[in-house]
């Protein structure tokens, strides 16, 4: 049973000037434990693919199965719970919540899920696993470096023990050295924790981490 399955998925955006086909008849399977790279030029449909994988969007045609559940007929609340319980997002711009401290940011998904007891211990465990020193726990995101913020973001993505990590240009806002460290961390999570990882990137050097690379062009898979 694959973690993510696309069956002839198409996504069409109706615009006044004519329909824009963002994804055309895409079929793919991603198995548990895989490290997948999604590459392609801008406008190739990477973001749409990512949004649908992240259950932020639903396809116009075809069927998507995430963690064993079909998403095309889900309500907004069901899609939201899918994101909360099964998907870990890592963004290019880190997207931590500025009002919350480092610990609270990582704790937030656990609170959404209603967890109370032992939440703090779990948070500390995850933060240690991504190499955030305990002295930084009470800092606000703005007080951290980019690399540290991305580590906290990865910790937040891992908090609810998701089926897979969805990383959108995770090193795009970081210098090469920090970016490499972040990719090493993601790869370690894949190797040691067995997390399925999907990384969308422009950076060809990332291919060395991946088991498999998916190329997109004009909304279609390119072999």
């Amino acid at each position: 049973m694959p973690v993510i399955r696309f069956d002839n998925v198409s996504k069409v955006y109706p615009l006044p000037a004519g329909d824009v086909v963002a994804l055309a008849d895409v079929s793919l399977d991603i198995d548990e434990g895989e490290f997948i790279l999604v590459m392609g030029p801008s406008g190739s449909g990477k973001s749409t693919l990512l949004n649908i994988m992240g259950s932020l969007d639903v396809p116009t045609a075809g069927e998507v199965t995430i963690a064993g559940r079909q998403i095309s007929r889900m309500t907004d609340d069901e899609l939201t719970l899918m994101r909360r319980d099964h998907i870990g997002f890592v963004f290019q711009q880190f997207n931590l919540i500025p009002l919350l401290s480092v610990v609270e940011n990582v704790e937030y998904p656990l609170i959404l899920k209603g967890g109370k007891s032992g939440a703090r211990e779990r948070v500390a465990e995850i933060l240690q696993a991504v190499d955030i020193a305990e002295s930084h726990f009470t800092h606000k995101p703005g007080e951290l470096s980019g690399g540290q913020q991305q580590r906290v973001a990865i910790a937040r993505a891992l908090a609810n023990d998701p089926a897979f990590l969805l990383c959108d240009e995770p090193t795009g806002n970081l210098d090469t050295k920090t970016g490499t460290a972040i990719m090493d961390l993601i790869a370690r999570m894949n190797r040691e924790e067995g997390k399925t990882v999907i990384v969308v990137t422009h950076d060809p050097r990332m291919t060395e981490y991946a088991d498999r690379t998916i190329h997109l062009m004009d909304g279609r898979l390119v072999a």
Binding site: G54, T80, L81, R84, F89, N95, Y108, L112
Partner: protein, 381 residues
């Protein structure tokens, strides 16, 4: 850490903006509460002015009927119609009085000596008897006559007769029947002998049970106005009701002014909340993408409005005491009216209205935040 906590943090992140919004609510609550208190105090003031007359029916000779005074026979008829309720016939005139060397004028009310105690309270001395040459003086008249020596035990000349002041009446305030505060009250027998009259100018009926007031009134009208209009009957309950209705509409009008300021405050909250939503579109996108449901986002923003409203309402409620005190003390003349239950209820009402206005103003921005498209919100810069 809950959504309430997130809301609180966001409010303190923009403390100046939040403070301004709270000030709007504070002003609105104060306006509505103090206007309500003012209106209520005016009503209470009316209430005090027309004191203890709610159980009274006053019977006058009908205007334009040819009857100008009541005969003993008519008094008997009215007494029969009034049943077991006490009927007090009253005659009145204006005459000059002399105390020592000082001459002045005063209203003179005459009624059967035995009835005086049922109509008027005394402050000092005793009620006069039918047989003696005694009289009572109104409290204001007594207070104003310190120099002339018109006081308890003094002698006062009316015409060529001398009366002794046996008692001083308690202050009664403005009434619809008689106004004895500046007057002299004499027994009817003395009056009848002195002026050589045997008629009465009005009849006051004290109704034992206020619920009977309408039936007693109808009974008198039916008996007296059989063929032609002989009497006009006025019951003070009806008069009081119209006075209170006037006071109530003053209250409503004043509270309307308060409500307008609260609506302005609501618009300011709406504005603040819209700004808060617009600034945080990206943040909302993040919250939504990592699994925050629509109603949870909505709750977060409603809480923000609720916090602003509660803080504003509490501050406004406390300050309403101060302004209510000033209003009643300066405009109505007695701060005691503030401690009336109804006045205090207006403060609670103002606070509740402030909170409701805030939350209502927060609903649309919260709804808007909850229904943002998470993909577009994430892309928002």
């Amino acid at each position: 850490m809950t959504f309430l906590d997130l809301a609180r943090r966001n409010i303190s992140r923009h403390w100046l903006r939040s403070t301004l919004a709270v000030i709007g609510i504070v002003i609105g609550v104060i306006a509505i509460a103090s206007m309500g208190i003012l209106g209520n105090s005016i009503g209470l003031m009316f209430d005090d002015m027309v004191s203890d007359v709610g159980d009274t029916i006053v019977v006058y000779p009908a205007t334009g009927s040819g009857t100008t005074a009541f005969t003993e026979r008519q008094i008997t008829d009215i007494t029969r119609a009034a049943g077991s309720n006490r009927v007090i016939p009253v005659a009145s005139t204006f005459d000059s009085i002399t105390v020592g060397e000082t001459k002045s004028g005063a209203m003179i009310y005459a009624m059967p000596a035995a009835d005086i105690q049922f109509l008027l309270d005394k402050e000092a001395g005793t009620y006069p008897r039918d047989t003696g040459a005694g009289c009572m003086i109104g409290s204001r008249l007594a207070a104003n006559s310190k120099e002339t020596g018109l006081k308890l035990g003094a002698r006062v000349r009316i015409g060529d007769e001398t009366l002794r002041v046996t008692g001083v009446l308690a202050e009664r305030g403005m009434g619809f029947d008689i106004n004895p505060d500046y007057a002299i009250v004499v027994p009817y027998r003395w009056y009848s002998n002195h002026y050589d009259k045997d008629e009465y100018d009005q009849v006051i009926v004290k109704v034992r049970d206020v619920k009977d007031i309408d039936s007693v009134r109808e009974a008198i009208e039916e008996r007296m106005n059989r063929r032609e209009e002989v009497v006009n009957v006025m019951d003070t309950k009806a008069i009081l009701e119209s006075v209170f209705a006037a006071a109530d509409s003053i209250t409503v009008f004043l509270m309307g002014i308060g409500a307008i300021s609260l609506i302005v405050a609501g618009v300011s909250i709406l504005n603040v909340m819209m700004m808060s939503v617009t600034e945080r579109i990206k943040e909302i996108g993040v919250l939504r993408s990592i699994g925050t449901r629509r109603n949870e986002v909505m709750r977060m923003f409603i809480y923000e409005a609720l916090i602003l409203g509660v803080v504003g309402a509490v501050i406004g409620g406390v300050l309403s005491f101060g302004t209510g005190y000033l209003m009643t003390a300066v405009l109505v003349g007695s701060p005691d009216y503030l401690y009336n239950v109804k006045s205090l209820l207006y403060i609670v009402f103002g606070m509740a209205f402030g909170i409701i206005t805030s939350v209502a103003s927060g609903i649309y921005p919260a709804w808007k935040a909850a229904h943002l498209n998470p993909i577009q919100a994430l892309r928002h810069e």
